[in-house]
C-alpha cells in the first residue's frame, strides 16, 4: 500500500513538473500571467507530492519495512535513528530525491525574487532539470522499458530472478543488510545534503544563462545569478571540505585528497562555477566577457550532470573507491547529459552572432584581462581534472581498456596552473580597485613583493627547501597571501563588505602553502631498526631467500605492551593497552597509544585508534575488521595513526577459524591432544601470566553453596580475576575446592570452571598449598607460553594540515561575504 502511494506521489510530482514546465514555457513565450500563476501552483504541487513521497520513504525506513528493496539494502533494525535518517540518501534513489527537494526549495526562492524578463525562462529550465531528475526515480514501465528506479520497489520487483522470491513472492526478510559500516559516521548526516544543496544551486546560473539567451538580454542576468552562483560555490566547497575531512579523520584513506573521481565530481563544478563568478563580476563592472559568463554558467552545470553520469552509471566502477553500481540508469543519464549540453550549447551558438563582443582588446595590465585570465586558469584546471577523470572513456584513444591516470598527472598539471593563478590574483586585485599603468602598478607592488621575498626566503631556510619547483611554488603562494592581504587591509578601512574577493584570494594562497607543506613533508613515524632496514632496501642490499632483491619498504610501527620506543629522538611512544568497555560498536577495541616528548619536557598525549568488526560483512568464522584512525591535530603538525593489527585481533581470528573448523567436524581428531594443560601455583595477592592472560589470586572466599556434599569438611573458593593482558576488562572466576568424607575416606570435589567466552578453556582449583598460603590451579585450554601483547601501527606525521583547513575556511568566508554584498545590492534594487 505504502509502496503504491509512494510511486503514485513520485509520478504525480513527475506529471506536475511536466505540466508546470509547459506552463512556464507558454508564459515565457507569450507573457501570459495566467500561465505563470497556474505553473507556480503546479510547481508547488510537485513539491508537496515529492515531500509526501519522501515522508513515506522516511517512514518505511524508520519502521524497518524490509519488503522494500531500498530499506532492505541500506538499513537494518539495529541502526541508530541518525543513521536510519542518513540511509534516506545512502543510495542513488534517495539521493536523487533529496537533490530534487533542494531544487524545489530553490525554485520557490526564484519564483519570489526573480524579475522580468528572466522569470519565465529561468523557472522553465529549472523545472526541466527537475523532470529529468524525477524520471530517474519514477519507476514506471512502458513495455519493456523501465523509466528510472523507484525507491519504493519491492524485493520481488528488484530481483525478479531470485528463485525464492518466485516461489514465495511475499517473502519478507527479517533484517536488512544494514548501512555500510564506513558510512555509519556523523559526517554521513551532513556531507551529502550539503553537496546536493550545491548541486541544486549550481542549476540556477545555468537557468539564468539560458534565460538570457532566450530573451536576448545578455547583461542584467549576471546581477541576479551572481548571489546564487556564489551560494552554490560555498555549498560545494563546504561539501568538499567535509568530504575531505571525513576521509582524513575517520576513513583510513590517509589524507584529505586522493584525486578520486567522486572527489573530482564535486571539485570540477566548483572550479567552473568559480570561473563563472570571475567573468560575471567583470561583466558587471565593465560590460565585457558576456560570452564567457554564459559559457561558464552552462559548463558548470553540465559538469555536474557529467560527473553525476560518471559516478552513477557504473562506468567508473574500476577506478573509483566509491562509485555507485549501475541501476540501469545509464541511458537515461546519457539523455539527461546530452539534453543539458545540447540545449545549452545549441542555444548559445544559435545566438552567437548577436552576442555582444568587445570592441577594443583589453590591455594586458587591466582588471578585465587579469580577471578573465584568472577564470581561464580555473577553467584549464577543471579541464585537466575532467580529462583525468574521464580516462575510462577518453583513454581509449590511446590504449584499450585504459587505467586511470597516475596521481602525478593531476599534480603536475594543476599545480603549475595554480601557481600562475596565484600570481594573477595579486595583479588582478591591484588593478581591480584602481586603474593603473605598469609604472604605478610596479610602485604599488614594491612592498608586497619585498615582503613576499623575505617570507619565501625565511620559509626556504626554516623548512630546508632544496627543490627549485617548491621554491617557485612558495614564492607564488606567499605573493598571493601578502599581496591580497594588502588589498584587503585597504578595503577594510573603506568598505568592509567589499573584501570578499581579496579574502578568498588570501585563502587560496594559504591553501597552496598548506598543500605544499602537508604533501611534501609527510613523514612516516618509524623506529630506528625499521629505518635502517628501509635505507638498506633503498640501497638495494636486501635480498629474499631466493636471492632476489627486495624493493618494498616497511612502513609500520610495532609496539609491545608497555615497552616504549623512541622515534626520531622526538617522541617516546608506548602502547598502554586497549579497552573493550562502553563501546558504541559491538566488538570494538579502543587502543591507548601514549606519546611523550623524548626529552621528557613538554606535554604528553594519548591517541585512541579503534578497530571494530564490520557487522554487515563478518561471519562467525571470518571476522572482517575495519579501522578508525585517530588524529592528534596540532597547529604545526598532525599525528595520524591507525591500527594495522594487534595480538587481540589475531587471537580472535584464530579462535574464529578454530571454531569454524570444529563446526565442519574435521577438528575432532586434533582436539584431544591439542588442549594444553598447565599447573600453576599462585600466592595470595599475586598476579601471574598465563598465555595471553593475567591471572590474579585476590583472596580466599567462603563457600556456602548447595553444590557441596553433605559430608563436606573443608570448602573454600578462590577469588580469581582473569584479564586479557593489555585490556581493562576482567572476569571474576571463583573455582571451588572442597573435601568431603565418603566411606570413611577423604575425597576432593573441585569442579573445573570454564572461562566465559572460551568454551574450551577452564580453571580447576586442585589444592591448597599450606606452606605459603597459595593455591594450585590446573588450567586447560590456554596457551602454556606467555604471549606477547603487541600492536602494529601505521603512524604518520602530517605537517600543516591545519593550514589547508585554514585556507579552505578563508575561501568560504570570502565567498560568503561576497554573497552578502551582492545579495544586499540586489535587494536594494528590487525595493
Amino acid at each position: 500500500m505504502i509502496g503504491f502511494l509512494g510511486d503514485l506521489f513520485i509520478n504525480a510530482a513527475f506529471v506536475s513538473a511536466i505540466l508546470a514546465a509547459i506552463g512556464y514555457f507558454i508564459y515565457a513565450q507569450n507573457d501570459t500571467n495566467k500561465h505563470f500563476k497556474i505553473s507556480n501552483w503546479l510547481f508547488g504541487l510537485q513539491g508537496v507530492f515529492l515531500l509526501i513521497a519522501s515522508g513515506l520513504l522516511l517512514y518505511v525506513i524508520l519502521t524497518n519495512q524490509f519488503n522494500f528493496y531500498y530499506v532492505y539494502n541500506y538499513t537494518s533494525s539495529d541502526l541508530q535513528l541518525k543513521y536510519l535518517i542518513s540511509a534516506f540518501w545512502g543510495g542513488q534513489e534517495g539521493s536523487f530525491m533529496l537533490w530534487i527537494l533542494f531544487s524545489i526549495i530553490i525554485g520557490l526562492g526564484l519564483m519570489k525574487w526573480t524579475r522580468e524578463p528572466y522569470r519565465g525562462p529561468v523557472l522553465f529550465f529549472l523545472t526541466l532539470t527537475q523532470i529529468f531528475l524525477l524520471s530517474m526515480v519514477s519507476g514506471i514501465s512502458i513495455g519493456d522499458f523501465q523509466l528510472g528506479a523507484s525507491p519504493f520497489r519491492s524485493l520481488a520487483e528488484a530481483m525478479p530472478n531470485a528463485p525464492f522470491l518466485q516461489s514465495n513472492p511475499d517473502f519478507v526478510p527479517q533484517d536488512g543488510k544494514g548501512l555500510n559500516d564506513l558510512l555509519k559516521s556523523p559526517w554521513m548526516m551532513i556531507h551529502p545534503p550539503i553537496l546536493f544543496v550545491g548541486f541544486a544551486m549550481m542549476t540556477v546560473p545555468y537557468c539564468f544563462a539560458m534565460a538570457a539567451l532566450w530573451k536576448r538580454k545578455y547583461n542584467e542576468w549576471v546581477d541576479h545569478a551572481l548571489p546564487w552562483t556564489l551560494g552554490a560555490n560555498v555549498a560545494l566547497l563546504t561539501a568538499i571540505f567535509l568530504g575531505g575531512y571525513w576521509a582524513y579523520v575517520t576513513l583510513s584513506f590517509g589524507g584529505y585528497w586522493a584525486w578520486d573521481p567522486v572527489e573530482n565530481a564535486s571539485f570540477v563544478p566548483w572550479l567552473l562555477g568559480t570561473a563563472g563568478i570571475h567573468t560575471m563580476i567583470i561583466q558587471r563592472k565593465s560590460s565585457t566577457s558576456q560570452k564567457a559568463s554564459i559559457i561558464f554558467a552552462i559548463l558548470a552545470y553540465v559538469a555536474i550532470v557529467y560527473e553525476t553520469f560518471l559516478t552513477r552509471s557504473g562506468i567508473l566502477a574500476d577506478s573509483s573507491v566509491h562509485s555507485f553500481v549501475d541501476l540501469g540508469l545509464y541511458s537515461q543519464l546519457v539523455v539527461f547529459m546530452g539534453a543539458v549540453t545540447i540545449i545549452g550549447l545549441g542555444l548559445f551558438f544559435y545566438r552567437y552572432k548577436e552576442l555582444p563582443s568587445q570592441e577594443n582588446e583589453s590591455k594586458f595590465l587591466s582588471r578585465e584581462f587579469m580577471t578573465f585570465a584568472g577564470a581561464m586558469m580555473l577553467f584549464l584546471i577543471g579541464l585537466v581534472i575532467i580529462l583525468g577523470t574521464s580516462s575510462p572513456i577518453i583513454g581509449r584513444l590511446f590504449v584499450e581498456n585504459p587505467t586511470p591516470p597516475e596521481v602525478s598527472f593531476y599534480n603536475e598539471w594543476t599545480m603549475p596552473l595554480a601557481i600562475i593563478a596565484a600570481i594573477m590574483t595579486v595583479l588582478g586585485q591591484f588593478l581591480f580597485w584602481k586603474r593603473q599603468d605598469a609604472e604605478s602598478l610596479a610602485a604599488d607592488l614594491l612592498w608586497p613583493v619585498a615582503i613576499t621575498c623575505v617570507a619565501t626566503l625565511a620559509t626556504i631556510i626554516i623548512g630546508d627547501v632544496r627543490d627549485i619547483y617548491y621554491m617557485v611554488f612558495l614564492l607564488a603562494a606567499w605573493f598571493a597571501v601578502i599581496g591580497n592581504s594588502v588589498i584587503m587591509y585597504r578595503l577594510v578601512r573603506k568598505k568592509p563588505l567589499l573584501i570578499g574577493g581579496a579574502l578568498s584570494h588570501v585563502g587560496f594562497g594559504v591553501l597552496l602553502l598548506g598543500i605544499l607543506a602537508s604533501s611534501a613533508y609527510n613523514e612516516m613515524l618509524l623506529d630506528e631498526s625499521v629505518k635502517k632496514y628501509n635505507a638498506a632496501i633503498e640501497r638495494g642490499e636486501v635480498t629474499d631467500e631466493q636471492g632476489f632483491q627486495k624493493t618494498q619498504k616497511v612502513d609500520f610501527l610495532e609496539l609491545k605492551l608497555n615497552q616504549p620506543k623512541i622515534i626520531d629522538d622526538r617522541y617516546k611512544v608506548t602502547y598502554e593497552g586497549y579497552t573493550l568497555k562502553d563501546q558504541e560498536r559491538p566488538g570494538q577495541q579502543e587502543y591507548r597509544i601514549k606519546f611523550e616528548p623524548a626529552d621528557g619536557e613538554g606535554k604528553q598525549f594519548v591517541l585512541n585508534p579503534q578497530v571494530y568488526p564490520m557487522l554487515s560483512s563478518s561471519s562467525q568464522s571470518d571476522i572482517q575488521w575495519s579501522v578508525d584512525p585517530d588524529v592528534r591535530t596540532g597547529l604545526m603538525s598532525d599525528i595520524y595513526l591507525y591500527v594495522a593489527g594487534s595480538s587481540f585481533v589475531e587471537r580472535r581470528n584464530d579462535e574464529a577459524k578454530e571454531a569454524a573448523a570444529k563446526r565442519r567436524g574435521n577438528a575432532s581428531t586434533a582436539e584431544d591432544d591439542s588442549v594444553q594443560v598447565q599447573e600453576v601455583n599462585i600466592g595470595r595477592g599475586e598476579t601471574i601470566k598465563v598465555g595471553a592472560f593475567d591471572l590474579t589470586f585476590n583472596d580466599y572466599e567462603e563457600a556456602d553453596d548447595q553444590q557441596l556434599q553433605d559430608s563436606t569438611i573443608v570448602a573454600v573458593r578462590a577469588n580469581l580475576e582473569l584479564t586479557q593482558r593489555g585490556s581493562d576488562s576482567s572476569v571474576p572466576i571463583r573455582p571451588l575446592f572442597s573435601i568431603y568424607v565418603k566411606d570413611g575416606e577423604n575425597w576432593t570435589y573441585a569442579p573445573p570452571i570454564s572461562i566465559p567466552g572460551y568454551d574450551e578453556a577452564s580453571i580447576q582449583f586442585t589444592s591448597v598449598d599450606p606452606s605459603n598460603g597459595g593455591i594450585d590451579l590446573k588450567i586447560r585450554g590456554i596457551d602454556t607460553q606467555v604471549e606477547d601483547q603487541w600492536v602494529l601501527l601505521v603512524a604518520e606525521e602530517k605537517p600543516f594540515i591545519s593550514i589547508v583547513w585554514l585556507g579552505t575556511f578563508l575561501l568560504m568566508a570570502g565567498f560568503s561575504i561576497s554573497i552578502f554584498r551582492h545579495w544586499d545590492r540586489e535587494r536594494k534594487k528590487s525595493t
Partner: protein, 133 residues
Amino acid sequence: MKPKLIIGIIAIVGFTSLLMYNFGNSISTYVNFEQAAGMEGAHVVGQWDDSEEYGFSMETKQFSFYMEDEDGNVRRVVYPKPKPNNFEEADQLVVIGEMQNGVFYANDMLMKCPSKYNNADEAEFQKAMPSKS
C-alpha cells in the same frame, strides 16, 4: 589575421597537445600477470583466490594473498600494507605494481566492491534465507 589570435591558437594547440601527450603517457592498460612481467606500475585486474592461504605476516610485515587474473593465471600478491578494509567483500581487485620472480609486488591496490554503497546481490540474499523458512 591578428597576431594575437595566432599566438592564442598556437598556445591552445601547444597546451592541448602537451596535455594529451602527458595524459596518454600517464595511463596504461590493464594486463594479466604474464604480460605484467618486466612492466613497471602494471595494473592487473582479478579476483581474490580464497582457496589459498592469505593474511598479514608479522615477520615480514606484509599482506599476501593469491589472485586469479582475468585469464586464469594465479599468482601470489604481496602488499606491504595492512589488509585493506573491505578486502574480502571486493568482487574485483586491481593491483598495481611489479612482477618479480613469479610474485607480484603490489604498491597499490584498489577494490571494486559490489558497491561502496552496499548493493545487495542475489547470491548473498539466498544465503540469508534459511533463517526465515
